[in-house]
Amino acid sequence: MLTAIAVIAGLAAAFGVVLGFAAVRFRVEEDPVVDQIDAILPQTQCAQCGYPGCRPYAEAIANGEADINQCPPGGEAGIRALAELLDREPKPLSEEHGVEKPKMLAIIDEETCIGCTLCIQACPVDAIVGAAKQMHTVIDDECTGCELCVAPCPVDCIDMVPVKTTLQNWKWPEPEKFYAPGSPLAEEERDPEHDTRVNPTREAGHG
C-alpha cells in the first residue's frame, strides 16, 4: 500500500516537473486578438473608421470601444470575417463611416503639382515620392487608395481613379448565378457570351 502511494506520488511529482518545464520552455505565444483583428482589416489606413489607422481601430475593437462595422474598405466581407472571429452577429456597414467602393488609386497630375509636400505628409503608407518644389508622384503598387492625400492638396491636382484590370489581376466572372426557382433573382439576365463550350459528346459515352 505504502509503496503504491509512494510510486504514484513519485510519478505525479515527476510528471509535474516535466509538464512545468514544458509549459515554460515550449510556451506558445498566443496570437493576441488585436493582431488577429488587424490581419482581417484591409490596411488601407484611411481613418474612415474614426481611428488614425487600422491598428488603432483593431485595438479599439478589442477593447470594446468600437463596433465591427466601421470599415468601408473592408466592406461586407470584412465585417463577416470580424463577426466570425469575435463570435458576434454580422451587421450592415455603418453609414456614418462611409460606403463600400471599388478599390481606387491616387494619381497626381504632374503638370499642376507645385511640390508643396503636403500630400507626402498626409500619406499613411509613404506611397508618394517627391521633394519641396519638385514634382510629386504616387507609387501605384504602394497606394492603398485611402484618399487622405486628396484634401490637403492646395491645387487640387490629385485624382482617385479605379484600379485598372490587367491580365495579372483579371478574374473569371462567376458563371451565371443559379437561384432556386421562385427566387426574384432567378429572373436575372443570362449572358450568352459565357457559353463558350462546344458539344463534343453527341455520340460519346463514359470512359
Binding site: V125, R197, V198
Partner: protein, 521 residues
C-alpha cells in the same frame, strides 16, 4: 488502378475518370500543312507566356529582321519575344489579345516589308557534346515556351540538376482534346524534328530515357515517328508508346499516371517523381533553336470546326491575325456562330477575329450551331456523383461547387481546387447542366485575388508601421534635442552664477584687504 498493355507490350496504367469523346480531328488532317501568308501587320504581344511580361527593346520606327529579339525576358519565369518577319516597328501599344477576359495588352506592332528577311541562324554546333547549361541558355534565347497550351517557359523545365536524378523525359503527343490536330500534323510532317528535339532535350536533362506518347487515333503520326526514330538511330533512347484515346489523357499529370502508374503529388511537380514532361511541338521548337539556330517565330495552328470552309493546319507566324488564317482556310461559312481559341472542352470564346496568334494558340475553332452544346438552364445539383466519377484528378466537384457558391474559399482549397485541370468532364456529364468548370475557374481566380490583396495589405501594414515608427523617432529626437538645449542653458546659468560668486568672493577679499590696510594706517 486498372492495368493494361500497349500494342508493343508496354505496361500502361489508367487515370481515374475521363471521357470517350468524338475526336472530330479528321476534318482538318486531310489537307497538307501550308505556310500561312505574311500579313501586312504583325501584332506580337509582350506576354504570351506564364510569368512576367517581356520588356520591349526596340523603338518605334526601328527596322527589324525576322528572328530578331524585340523584347527581353524579365526575371526567371519569363520568355524572350522575337520579330516574326522583317519590317518596321509601327507601334508599341495596347491591342486586343486572345484571352478569355477580352482585354487589351501591350503589343509590338510590326508593319511587314514583304521581304521576309531573317537574321542569320545561330545553331549550337556540336550540341551532342555541349554542356546542359549551354543548351538551356540557347533554348531561353530562342523564347521557347510550352506549345501544348500552357506556355510555361521551356528552359525552366529543361534544367539538369545534380541533386535531382531525372528518371525519364515524357514527350506528350497525346493531343486528347477533340478538333485539335496541330500536334498530329506536326508529327506526321516533321517527325524527324520531334525526334531530334527529343535527343537535344535528353542531353539538356542529362538523362537517357524518353517516352513519346501518342493516342491510338493517330496511325499516320505513329508511322512517321517510327520511321524517324529508325532514321535517327534513336531506338535505344526513345520509346514510342501508343496509349488508348481517353480525354483528358494529354493532361500532364494524367499522362504521367498512364505511363508510370505514379501520381504527381498534389502540391508538387512531375520533377518531384523524377519526370519531366514536354509537348511534342516544344521538342520540335527546341530542335529548330539548337540544331537549326532559329528562335520560336511560328507554330502549327489547326483552323477547324464546322464553320470553316476548308479546315486545315497552318504553319503560322506568331502575330498573324486570326482573320488571316481563317481566310487561308477558305474563309468562314455563314453557319459559323462562335469563334474559340483552343478546343471545345478547354478553349475560350474570342469576340474579335483581329486578335493575333500567340505561342499558346494551338487551335482556332469556328463552331456552328450544331456543334455548340445547347444552352440549358442550370438546375439544382442532385448529388448524383457523376462529376466525381469522371474527374481525372479524383476531386469531388459537387463539394467544390457547393463551397464555391457559399463563398467558403478555405473549404474550396481544402477540397484541392488547385488540382483541378479545368478539363470540363464534370460539365459534360452533369445532368443538371451546371457549368462546373466555369465555377472552378471563378473560384481559383477569386482565391488568387484574395491572396494578392492579403499580400498588398501586409506591405501596407509594414509601411504604415515603419512610418509610425519614424514619426515616433523624429518626435523622440526632437524632444531629446530640446532637453539637451535646456540642459546647456542651465549649465550656462550655473557657470554664470559661479563666476558671480567668485567675483563676489574676490570683491569681499579686496574689501577685507582694504579694511586691513586702513586699520594699519
Amino acid at each position: 488502378m486498372a492495368e493494361m498493355r500497349s500494342r508493343d507490350g508496354v505496361q500502361l496504367h489508367r487515370f481515374p475518370g475521363g471521357l470517350l469523346l468524338d475526336d472530330h480531328k479528321a476534318m482538318a488532317t486531310q489537307r497538307p500543312v501550308e505556310k500561312a501568308p505574311l500579313p501586312k501587320e504583325l501584332v506580337i504581344p509582350l506576354q504570351q507566356h506564364i510569368g512576367e511580361p517581356a520588356m520591349p527593346i526596340v523603338e518605334v520606327g526601328e527596322h527589324v529582321l525576322g528572328g530578331q529579339p524585340i523584347a527581353e525576358a524579365q526575371g526567371h519565369i519569363s520568355a524572350l519575344v522575337h520579330a516574326t518577319s522583317s519590317g518596321t516597328v509601327k507601334e508599341i501599344t495596347e491591342r486586343l489579345i486572345p484571352h478569355p477576359s477580352g482585354l487589351t495588352a501591350p503589343c509590338v506592332v510590326i508593319e511587314t516589308d514583304g521581304k521576309d528577311e531573317f537574321v542569320s541562324p545561330e545553331p549550337l554546333d556540336g550540341w551532342q557534346q555541349a554542356e546542359p547549361a549551354a543548351i538551356h541558355q540557347h533554348v531561353r534565347n530562342a523564347g521557347i515556351v510550352g506549345l501544348g497550351g500552357a506556355a510555361f517557359p521551356t528552359d525552366i523545365k529543361l534544367t539538369a540538376d545534380e541533386f535531382l536524378q531525372i528518371d525519364r523525359l515524357i514527350l506528350n503527343g497525346a493531343e486528347c482534346e477533340p478538333y485539335i490536330c496541330c500536334d498530329d500534323m506536326l508529327m506526321r510532317e516533321r517527325a524527324e524534328e520531334v525526334i531530334s528535339g527529343a535527343l537535344v532535350m535528353l542531353r539538356a536533362l542529362a538523362t537517357e530515357r524518353c517516352q513519346l506518347a501518342i493516342e491510338d487515333n493517330k496511325p499516320e503520326a505513329e508511322q512517321a515517328l517510327r520511321d524517324a526514330i529508325k532514321q535517327a538511330d534513336a531506338a535505344d533512347h526513345i520509346e514510342l508508346v501508343i496509349v488508348p484515346s481517353v480525354y483528358p489523357e494529354g493532361g500532364e499529370k494524367q499522362l504521367i499516371q498512364v505511363l508510370t502508374g505514379k501520381e504527381v503529388p498534389s502540391d508538387g511537380l512531375p520533377i518531384d517523381i523524377g519526370i519531366v514532361c514536354h509537348n511534342v511541338g516544344t521538342a520540335a521548337a527546341v530542335h529548330r533553336a539548337v540544331v537549326n539556330g532559329t528562335p520560336l517565330v511560328s507554330r502549327f495552328v489547326a483552323v477547324t470546326g464546322g464553320g470553316v470552309r476548308e479546315p486545315r493546319v497552318l504553319d503560322s507566324r506568331i502575330g498573324t491575325p486570326f482573320a488571316t488564317l481563317i481566310e487561308s482556310a477558305g474563309g468562314a461559312l455563314d453557319s459559323a456562330v462562335r469563334l474559340l481559341m483552343g478546343g471545345p472542352m478547354m478553349g475560350f470564346a474570342i469576340r474579335d477575329d483581329s486578335v493575333p496568334v500567340i505561342k499558346a494558340t494551338n487551335c482556332i475553332l469556328l463552331a456552328t450551331d450544331d456543334e455548340i452544346r445547347p444552352a440549358k438552364e442550370p438546375m439544382p445539383c442532385i448529388r448524383c456523383g457523376e462529376c466525381a466519377q469522371v474527374c481525372p484528378a479524383s476531386l469531388l466537384p459537387q463539394q467544390l461547387y457547393w463551397h464555391t457558391r457559399a463563398r467558403e474559399m478555405d473549404k474550396v482549397e481544402d477540397y484541392d481546387i488547385f488540382d483541378c485541370i479545368e478539363c470540363g468532364c464534370c460539365d459534360v456529364v452533369c445532368p443538371s447542366h451546371i457549368p462546373l468548370a466555369s465555377h472552378f475557374r471563378f473560384a481559383k481566380t477569386e482565391i488568387w485575388g484574395k491572396e494578392a490583396e492579403r499580400a498588398r495589405a501586409d506591405i501596407a501594414r509594414q509601411r504604415y508601421e515603419a512610418r509610425q515608427e519614424r514619426i515616433e523617432k523624429e518626435k523622440r529626437e526632437q524632444e531629446e534635442r530640446r532637453q539637451r538645449k535646456k540642459k546647456m542653458l542651465d549649465n550656462l546659468d550655473r557657470e554664470k552664477s559661479k563666476k558671480d560668486e567668485i567675483k563676489a568672493a574676490m570683491e569681499r577679499a579686496k574689501q577685507k584687504k582694504r579694511e586691513k590696510q586702513e586699520g594699519k594706517d
